[in-house]
Symmetry: C2
Subunit: 446 residues, 2 copies
């Protein structure tokens, strides 16, 4: 049996802020800023309102802020709701190798825990990076070839609990054995199906992971036990959910190579596999000088996964639109951008959008890379314009800049907290490692 939980736990226990490379520290701040913006952008969605109504009834009171909603509930409920908000617009972040969105469950769990427990900003960032690392590596375990797992597993749901448990465990000062127990408890509560990605229930997978992971760490801290073999054993996590789970990919370079550096904030509020298409269409809009009715058809060439995950032909809701490369290609060509307003219910039902959307064709090409796409616009007069994007915005080769992240944050912040000055929040995020208590940031938020 391969050893997995123990080296992961040892990594968590021995992590410290000052030993993190500067680039990793900075990426930790970037992904936190990005997460907080996504929470603010999504916090008034109806899915959050409804979940809040239930958790107000079930949860404890006064421990941690439900961001943007001016209420404090218990840490678990606050983590659940903030993780839900962050997920509303599919605008979060993506670990490119595994298509999981690692920051959500981890940040939600430790932001709630941190407010309650007066965690310092440096400890917070250390735990955030450690949790993201564990979550990404558990995702590699299931997906790095030769490992295969069912397409229907919502990766963030299934591995986010490990990240949250590791991060909260680090903040609780658990020892290696206790972290092993926390990871084991998280394993037995791992869940999440991709089938619901375009409905409200799809927005609470990382939420459940956040709460389960937090609870797992709190249980382990009290002395609640699990076994050493929950991750690796014959009826444990790795072998139940994957064929040929890749233990090497999960452990190679641990403590030296940081997966947060392979995790990218999203420049567009939709499934990451659509981003190359958007980028290709953006290029076309720059050279195209034609009214929508002059477009005869649009042809896209995309990686197979893009069609499998985001092939919704006729989106009916805003959530559907996040998984429709047809919609995104059409709105980008029409409006020269693919932001939150292009994902609205109104835009989904706009006759102009519908008309062009129906003239978009997409073909899967297995030789096309994940961050690559080709788009060709054929006009009625016989002309054609083509664009080929090799590395789209938001890819490892072409990440969002800090300034772009700030712009994204401002747009989202105004939606969530119109009365608050976004730049003050942005400054706090860049300087979070100087905070003696992350609760101060929570109090700035409500």
């Amino acid at each position: 049996m391969s050893d997995l939980a123990r080296p992961l736990a040892q990594f968590v226990v021995s992590s410290s802020y000052h030993r993190l490379p500067a680039a990793v520290q900075h990426e930790g701040k970037r992904t936190f800023l990005n997460w907080l913006g996504c929470v603010l952008g999504g916090c008034h969605d109806r899915s959050v309102t409804l979940a809040l109504a239930v958790l107000r009834e079930l949860g404890g009171q006064g421990q941690a802020l439900v961001i943007g909603r001016d209420v404090r509930l218990d840490m678990g409920s606050a983590a659940f709701l903030n993780a839900t908000s962050a997920n509303v617009h599919s605008y979060n972040d993506t670990h490119l190798k595994t298509v999981c969105h690692p920051t959500g469950p981890v940040a939600a769990a430790i932001f709630a825990f941190g407010e309650r427990n007066k965690t310092s900003g440096a400890d917070f960032l250390t735990a955030l990076v450690a949790g993201i690392e564990v979550e990404c590596r558990m995702s590699l375990l299931l997906t790095a070839p030769p490992a295969r797992c069912p397409l229907g597993l919502n990766m963030t749901g299934f591995t986010g609990g490990f990240g949250a448990a590791a991060a909260v465990g680090r903040l609780l000062g658990l020892n290696q054995g206790q972290i092993v127990h926390a990871l084991g408890i998280a394993a037995t509560h791992a869940s999440g199906l991709r089938e619901g990605n375009t409905v409200m229930s799809g927005k609470i997978n990382s939420a459940q992971a956040a709460r389960s992971g937090l609870t797992a760490a709190l249980l382990a801290a009290k002395g609640f036990t699990s076994s050493d073999t929950m991750l690796e054993g014959p009826t444990g996590f790795a072998h139940v959910f994957a064929t040929e789970p890749n233990f090497s990919a999960a452990l190679d370079g641990l403590g030296h190579q940081y997966e947060v550096l392979n995790n990218m904030p999203k420049p567009f509020p939709c499934g990451i596999v659509i981003h190359p298409v958007i980028d290709a269409c953006l290029r076309l809009t720059k050279e195209l000088d034609a009214a929508p009715e002059q477009i005869e058809r649009v042809e896209l060439v995309v990686p197979s996964l893009a069609l499998e995950l985001t092939g919704i032909r006729e989106p009916r809701t805003a959530f559907d639109a996040q998984c429709s490369l047809y919609h995104l290609a059409a709105v980008t060509l029409l409006y020269g951008k693919a932001g939150l307003s292009e994902m609205s219910e109104k835009c989904v039902h706009d006759p102009t959008v519908i008309k062009l959307r129906r003239r978009v064709l997409a073909m899967a090409d297995p030789t096309v890379a994940k961050d690559e796409a080709k788009a060709t616009v054929f006009l009625n007069d016989g002309r054609a314009h083509a664009a080929h994007v090799l590395h789209c915005r938001g890819s490892r080769e072409n990440p969002m800049t800090d300034a772009e992240l700030e712009d994204k944050f401002r747009e989202q912040s105004i939606m969530g907290l119109p009365s608050r000055e976004p730049d003050e929040l942005i400054d706090q995020c860049w300087e979070i490692d100087r905070l003696d208590d992350v609760g101060r940031l929570a109090r700035l938020l409500g």
Copy 2:
């Protein structure tokens, strides 16, 4: 795509106490009595004490009783803890076709909900039977041939949330569409690994199912949505967790044949697959007139599943003992019984037990049925005694009688609530369909 969620939801919506066959009504009472006894028997275990410490901190207050602990928390936390207690001794109940333990998550969810909402006893039993039905049928979906699913899925964890969601949904008066949403939300939170069966984390799979299912129904009641395809879709529950999921087995006879009639309270506090061995050893003790040291060896012939699930050779803890057919064979031959005291830590480490346990051999025979076993004792003087059990106690052909259930309840009740008269509680369980408010029963319990 097969239709699954809608017919299940329709069954739940149209269920009513007075249309249940008398045998089903009675079995509902039996399984509730059995569940309540198991909660009382397990409620002082250290696993419950530790989980209670965490949920006291996270949970809301005053809604529903944590049985035997003299505290009321929110419905979700109470359901979680009572389901944990019921699981402590592996003494609960088993749906023989699927080896799930269906009553735990359902009863825990609706007992907490019922106290909070003054549910009548007849409604309570209707919801209990409906929830057990849905849970067992979702288990058949994954396990009835040709369906296959990983051995490591803890079946109660994976399908208990559907049962709890259906039962609470029935009590909330949800319509068919809302129940479909509740089942869909439960699907995306289904979890549980068998790897932890002999550690504390293995005791909180049905607990998580109870809370997730309850929450799913409460969310659906508020208008939180899921999709129609969470159970049946290509990336939904059935196809993610099973190969060739058996939709017919899940639906055939729904509303006419009740799976609660195939669900059996356990006569012995251990894995059900060990029960035939215990029964065979009990028979041997009646004819055997030999001191332990005269036993040269014991040979068992068991179904393959028994060795796979309960083949722990050297148990170290009370939880291990629940999954050790070697331990159970030894103690039954030594003491003529296999009750709670034979499962204690003390008994596990008793030198006399260890000595005999090491002389027990077990062979798997694929022609041996689930409820069948052969045991042969070879004595030092060359004599041998053999017993062959075709249908063990607690099997469909040989169920526990009502009187035996009452005796089991008395033993457990005294462990959990020594100051309370067990027979008063037993009477209340038999007459629960006359209660206008199941909260009355909760108040009798603390």
